[in-house]
Amino acid sequence: MTAREAAVVEELLRLARERLLLDGSLPSPAEPLAGRLDSLQRLTLVVAVEDRFQIILTDDDAAGATTLEDVARLVAARTQLTAIDPAETP
């Protein structure tokens, strides 16, 4: 994982805490999300990610991503570094 991807993972965990109301039991970056989140939570996470980073993950992309690392790679490939700074989120 690159430093950028690691920064995205941090931001994804923050989204999971805030949007999915998960606390304590956050998935680790390489863990399959299907084991930790139910289908509604996974769908909600994708939309939250799109909203936060202002990107669109196609169904093809999203279906191939199974861990937070996978999602972070997709996001990092589509965004500018500056957009990943957590400080700028409202």
């Binding site: 949007r19 109301l21 399959p32 999300l33 299907a34 084991g35 930790r36 989140l37 139910d38 289908s39 509604l40 996974r42 769908l43 909600t44 996470l45 994708v46 939309v47 939250a48 799109e50 909203d51 669109i56 993950l57 196609t58 169904d59 093809d60 992309d61 999203a62 279906a63 191939g64 991503a65 199974t66 999602v71």
Partner: protein, 597 residues
């Protein structure tokens, strides 16, 4: 409580209204003259408006494209699109081409790729779709499903539907023609393709129109998926046929930001908006005050609650949470229906009773008798115009009120058939009556639904096959292989349908082994995406079986609810008497203890 003196559980709606149009295709043509239209709201509350005139003109162009692709009248077209304008092009375009739309659910994102591909391929095949229309972003994913199912005309990108410049004239649709193939909700039960005629669709929409009594000031707001009945027939087709304004939010956007829903109702002065119980609870729990600042919901006159077991608790919480935004709790009205009846079968009368009947859950489960108690069961009201409901016993005989039995339905919008499955069709339709597979009772002329005769588990509006949950438990050390059942039920405390897993431990295992229960919970969630509300471990041999050794899920749930699922040994009449005596004794002892305090 039953028998003589109690009326029979036969409920009849008022007569069917006259059809407002020969078919909804005629209604679509008529909608073009109306100034209203469809508004899509996105996650950032940006809106895109399409007048009905434009929707119809695009449908005519899409129809020309379909014809150019080789689609003939009567062909089925599978549509895999989200809540977006392209869905309207693909759906109404298919009608305009004389074809039959088959909406399929788009992929659940993040994972379960293989299951999605297999399930979708199966649905394309068993609906007999000639063509698949999808969005560009699903091409790789659907490509595999299409390669497996091999529809004769292949797969096309929905964006190309508007490539043609000239439209086609309106086709000659007849009420007896097939109008829609819809699959039951959810992703995991092998869903059956339910074939509905144009006449059935028109009849359902007409019956809803009588109940809803729309006026020129009505605005329908919906975030429900367009790929099954409540969002499609109740939402899109209802608004189109009236016609009137429709405001659509994508379901995944609602889930990510539930405030979008009440805010859209407020902004558009929405009057009609349906949802399942879980969504009312979801909004009550997750929408903050800041999101509701300045939101006025006083226009919301019909908040229909259906598509899964109705929870009085969810309705009350929603009503209390949104009262400061001037939401009137009397707008909440439970409904009951199923995809095999196009959509709705019963409808709670106006009056806003948010309190259900309080019955004794144990007597209901054990004896099928309705006696007063603490368990809440909501009334889902009376049959729609043109519909009849009967509650029948296992032997098929009509029961009296206050007796739990199987719900049968007759009416003008029942399925024509389960496509390509005459056996399933003749199981579902018997002498013009539909066996809903749901259990319920009548009380005071109103239907109360309580559980299902079939084993399907409905979690948050999605149907699941119990076998799938049970299969997730195989190979867990400490559990007896193949000796577990998964059932859905509504615990009194939450009101949500919850997954309950009853699993036997191996010989010598402990039924209080918390770590084992946790492993079972994790395995089910990992495999199915649904977390069990409870995993209960049982001694070997506790689960009821048929004479051939098959597990009896319904019976297991009945015993669990009746508090009698604890007997490890095979039961003879003497033992049964002994248990009954013991449970009475336990009751006496606890009463004595209370009195002594």
């Amino acid at each position: 409580m039953s028998g003589r003196g109690t009326p029979l559980a036969r409920l009849r709606g008022p007569p069917s209204p006259l059809p407002r149009h020969p078919t909804l295709v005629h209604a679509l043509a008529g909608a073009a003259a109306h100034p209203s239209g469809v508004t899509f709201v996105d996650l950032a509350e940006r809106e895109t408006h399409h007048p009905w005139r434009e929707v119809v003109a695009r449908a005519a162009r899409a129809a020309a494209t379909y014809a150019a692709w080789g689609v003939c009248p009567g062909d089925r077209v599978a549509i895999v699109l989200r809540t977006e304008a392209a869905f309207l092009d693909a759906f109404f375009g298919a009608w305009w081409a004389g074809a039959v739309p088959v909406p399929l659910y788009p992929p659940v994102r993040l994972g379960r790729r293989e299951e999605y591909i297999e399930g979708t391929a199966r649905m394309i095949r068993c609906s007999g779709a000639a063509l698949v229309v999808a969005g560009g972003g699903t091409r790789r994913l659907l490509g595999e499903a299409v390669a497996m199912a091999r529809p004769p005309l292949g797969a096309r990108d929905a964006a190309m539907l508007l490539d043609g410049t000239s439209g086609r004239p309106r086709p000659e649709a007849a009420p007896g023609d097939l109008g829609l193939v819809q699959f039951s909700s959810g992703s995991t039960v092998a869903p059956k393709p339910v074939a509905l005629t144009h006449g059935a669709l028109q009849a359902q929409v007409d019956a809803l129109t009588v109940l809803v009594e729309p006026t020129a000031s009505d605005v329908l707001v919906s975030w429900l998926p367009l790929y099954h009945d409540m969002g499609l027939i109740g939402g899109l087709l209802g608004a189109m046929s009236y016609p009137g304004p429709l405001v659509l939010i994508a379901p995944e956007h609602f889930l990510a930001r539930p405030a979008l829903w009440p805010r859209a109702v407020g902004r558009h002065r929405g009057t009609i908006s349906p949802a399942p119980s879980f969504a009312y609870a979801y909004v009550a729990d997750r929408v903050g005050d800041a999101d509701l600042a300045g939101v006025d919901l006083s226009s919301w006159r019909l908040a229909l609650d259906g598509a899964e077991p109705v929870s009085g608790e969810a309705m009350r919480r929603f009503s209390a949470r949104l009262a400061p935004s001037r939401f009137d709790g009397r707008a909440l009205r439970p409904v009951y229906g199923l995809s095999e009846a196009a959509l709705a079968v019963t409808f709670a009368p106006i009056g806003g009773r948010l309190e259900g009947l309080r019955v004794d859950g144990v007597r209901l489960a054990r004896d099928g008798l309705v006696v007063p108690g603490t368990r809440e069961v909501a009334s889902v009201g009376v049959p729609l115009p043109g519909f009849e409901v009967e509650v029948r016993g296992e032997d098929g005989a009509l029961l009296h009120e206050d007796r739990l039995g199987r719900i049968w339905v007759r009416g003008p919008s029942l399925l024509r058939e389960v496509l390509g499955d005459s056996e399933a069709t003749s199981r579902a339709l018997v002498e013009g009556w539909l066996d809903t597979g749901d259990l319920g009772f009548a009380r005071g002329g109103e239907l109360h639904v309580h559980g299902r005769a079939k084993d399907v588990v409905i979690i948050r509006g999605s149907n699941h096959a119990p076998e799938e949950f049970e299969a997730a438990l195989t190979g867990i050390p400490g559990l007896r292989p193949g000796c577990a059942v998964a059932v859905g039920y509504q615990p009194a405390e939450t009101g949500h349908e919850t997954l309950l897993v009853l699993a036997e431990v191996v010989k010598g295992g402990r039924i209080d082994d918390q770590a084992l229960a946790a492993r079972a919970t994790l395995a089910v969630r990992e495999r199915t995406g649904v977390a069990p509300g409870e995993v209960r471990l049982l001694s070997p041999g506790t689960l009821p079986r048929t004479s051939s050794g098959k597990l009896r899920r319904r019976e297991a749930l009945r015993r669990q609810l009746a508090g009698t699922l604890s007997a490890p040994a095979p039961a003879g009449p003497l033992q049964l008497m002994a248990w009954a005596a013991r449970s009475q004794l336990a009751g006496v002892l606890s009463r004595l203890r209370r009195e002594r305090r």
